[in-house]
């Protein structure tokens, strides 16, 4: 059924937003089509509602490992063939795993959608995980962890901060998994994960581009309808107990500069039409950061010169709990303590005095402009749809986002800052830089001295 809300809303907002089609197949698979005819191309993404938050201790990282194994062959398509066929058709393909989901995509000329669907439908049901290929690929994943986390001091800091801020909720675990879990992971772990979560009723297909919705739906039925729905396990909320005081950690890592990360537990969007705080927190992040004119940059970097960089971020859309974050690097000669105090001063100023109408208007102007700019990227538009739907929000929440942000008042921003940026919700992590030329500890590669 073609939904009409998008058209209505587009007219209201005076934009030329394309219509959206949102249907669910008989086997429970959801199909969302966003028509956009600017270029003769399309992007096709399959989103599984299974990310690292669905993992168990002992097998952290398995969602992401399975993502790697999804390219390693099926009963019908030999290992390596998937990528080869997409490449031969001029396509680009990849996949990504997050805390909330695992998604796979192909970008191709518009007339090659059938190939992408055929291959995705096949690996949704027919994946083969051999012990031999798993043994190679788990090594690749460990290299990925070394590359992205272990050798990046700021990434280590983020990882440890999450493990501190959350004590019960699975967001405490890194997406890539703990190294020890990767070292002990088996092919059967990956098979179990696949059997548990890879089913049409746990998946959403998002297609955007120069396509016709009815043709996309027909193709989706042709390729995916034959796949039976699976019995999905019950999902427990695993709610994080209320924090009872500020938490602080220090992470020592080889680096030249210190770095500070502050994170407050915060709400996320649940009822997009009724909620107000998540929109106010988004505006707050924009007032503090987001561009060169925002408060942290102006005050801490330009005026006081306490930081060389400072920014704030908040993501209102996720399956699990939210977090409002600030990160900063102190200027030479300034301590992390001084920096934290300066950040706190800025936050207290918002809590005490609120924000000006000019600041509010400025952030809203950027929101409105960004909404136009994002239409330049087909991939990003599809990605947003997938994220909203996977987080349990309707596409209407995405279409209504700008209107909601425009309605935020200065008083709501101040109230949100007062209510949520409190010490009892706060975790602070400090990077304590260790000399780069010191002989490093090699605890994670036992028995290895060095390579010649």
């Amino acid at each position: 059924m073609r939904s009409l809300w998008a058209i209505g809303l587009a007219l209201l907002l005076g934009s030329a937003q394309a219509a959206l089609t949102d249907v669910t197949l008989d086997n429970g698979m959801r199909v969302i089509v966003h028509e956009d005819r600017r270029a003769p191309v399309m992007v096709s993404q399959v989103w599984y509602r299974a990310g690292s938050m669905d993992e168990f201790n002992g097998t952290t990282g398995v969602a992401h490992v399975l993502e790697h194994m999804m390219f390693k062959g099926t009963k019908n398509v030999p290992p390596g063939e998937f990528s080869k066929r997409i490449a031969a058709a001029g396509g680009r393909e990849n996949a990504f795993t997050s805390r909330d989901y695992t998604a796979y995509f192909q970008q191709m000329q518009k007339d090659r959608l059938a190939l992408s669907m055929q291959l995705e439908a096949d690996r949704m049901a027919n994946l083969v995980i051999s012990d031999e290929l798993f043994a190679k690929e788990i090594q690749v994943v460990m290299e990925e962890r070394r590359l992205r986390t272990d050798d990046q001091p700021q990434s280590v800091l983020v990882e440890r901060l999450m493990a501190t801020a959350y004590q019960a909720h699975p967001y405490r675990r890194p997406i890539i998994g703990w190294m020890d879990d990767l070292q002990n992971m088996t092919a059967q772990d990956a098979r179990d994960w696949y059997a548990r979560w890879y089913a049409p009723n746990n998946a959403t297909l998002v297609v955007a581009g120069d396509v016709k919705a009815d043709e996309v739906i027909a193709l989706a039925k042709q390729y995916f309808s034959a796949l039976p729905a699976g019995a999905l396990p019950e999902r427990r909320p695993q709610a994080e107990p209320a924090q009872v005081g500020v938490k602080r950690i220090v992470v020592k890592a080889s680096a030249q500069l210190p770095y500070l990360l502050m994170a407050w537990h915060a709400p996320t969007l649940k009822d997009w039409a009724q909620d107000t705080t998540p929109y106010a927190l988004q505006i707050l992040a924009g007032v503090l950061s987001g561009n060169d004119s925002a408060r942290l940059q102006t005050s801490l970097v330009k005026m006081q010169q306490i930081a060389v960089n400072a920014s704030a971020g908040y993501d209102a859309v996720s399956r699990g709990p939210g977090m409002f974050m600030i990160d900063a690097t102190p200027a030479p000669g300034k301590s992390v303590d001084t920096l934290e105090k300066a950040i706190r001063n800025e936050l207290e100023r918002v809590q005490r005095e609120g924000i000006s109408e000019a600041e509010l208007a400025r952030v809203k102007a950027q929101v409105i402009a960004a909404d136009v700019y994002q239409r330049d990227s087909l991939f990003y538009q599809a990605m947003q749809l997938g994220e909203y739907v996977t987080a349990g929000l309707p596409p209407a929440a995405l279409a209504g986002r700008v209107g909601k942000l425009r309605a935020v008042t200065a008083a709501e921003v101040q109230a949100a800052a007062q209510q949520w940026l409190q010490d009892d919700r706060l975790s602070v992590a400090e990077l304590d830089p260790q000399p780069l030329d010191a002989q490093p500890a090699r605890a994670n590669v036992p028995g290895v001295r060095h390579a010649n």
Binding site: R38, P40, E143, Q152, I175
Partner: protein
Amino acid sequence: MLINALSIKALSINALAIKTMLIKSFLVALLLSLPLSAQAALAIQHWQTPQGARVFFVESHELPMLDIAVDFPAGSARDPVGKAGLAHLTHGLLDQGAGGLSDTAIAHRLADVGAVLSGRLDRDRAGVTLRTLSSAAEKDKALDILARVLQRPGFPQAVIKREKQRLISSIREAEADPGTVASKAFYRALYGTHPYAHDEAGDPAAIARLTRGDLQAFYRTHYSVPNVVISLMGDVTRAEAEAIAVRLTAGLSRAAALPALPQPAPATASDTRIAHPSTQSHVLVGMVGMARNDPDYFPLFVGNYVLGGGGFDSQLMREVRDKRGYAYSAYSYFLPMSEAGPFQLGLQTKLEQTDDALKVAQATLRQFIAEGPSEAELTQAKSNLTGGFPLRIDSNRKILDYLSVIGFYKLPLDYLDSWVDQVNAVDVAAVKQAFARRVDPDKLVTVVVGTGNAR
């Protein structure tokens, strides 16, 4: 830099663990190839302003927005001897006070109309880009700021001091990253005394010595009408685009077009090992490669898809990652620049298997140079490149980047129309001959960062 790590949507994107980091090869593919098939040719308009500024324009009214890029041959290769970082600092100061407005006033005025002003700097180019809504009031205000930034940067003394400190901090912060350390060492080993040798960011000690006079002089001689290339993409008419180009260049200096950079000499074989407290070694291998106007461009570009440019479709990825699990990313590319840019092959692997992984990469390269791609491999490469062509021009942003490359590197306007044909014309023999001419496996420059013992 850090803003990306935490900005609203980027938070979740960065938190993703992506299957492959093809980002490097991806970016390079963009730089390398400017394809355009006949059936979807872009109508590129080109003219010079009455003053002589070169302009490239594609008119498109589908989205109510305008993208502009203004580029100068003012990249780090133009740093005077002993002043590594001058190009970077000058470029970074453009929008930090200009035309009678303070840095904060500029930032506020842009934000008020939702405009985004960005900069980019590499060894060849210094560029400023503007993205704005095309509605009259917003566009006019955004262009007013862009014009001030380009024509009347103030280089305030206090801001210079601050930005020097920030620049030096960012360079030092990056020293913790073994990939950055390796890349800097690779260019040093490859280019010796050539201006491509030093890093774009510059040298902290040299930056500390730079004066306001240095910046002003560099600005005057490099950011001039004979040097500028203006690219416009989006929702304006030709007449408006012409007026914008005049407006943006009216106050630029008339300093003469810069001479070409010197030609790099071929590097001698070397093997550099740099200690670093990382869990992985970052391995880079290469030679001086090709310039933008190289006659071997297409054979090298298409051939490299098979060797290490085609991601999972490439020999390096197959040998290093798929077969042996040695690395997450293994790639090769030619980076064509004004003068010969590098040919680079890279991978990262845990310390104890560094030499094994390096041997596999070397053997793969050696065999490719000896035997070339198979017919089937070359056909696959050509199918992907030509079939994937529409993806390369499917957004205003991408088209703008192509316009500025065409303009900056003086590629012929019809170059794109023949691109698919040029790819299709490459055969196995041409690839073999071109690689044999350019890549000598006995004269490779090798850099390994991360081993516990430096050599």
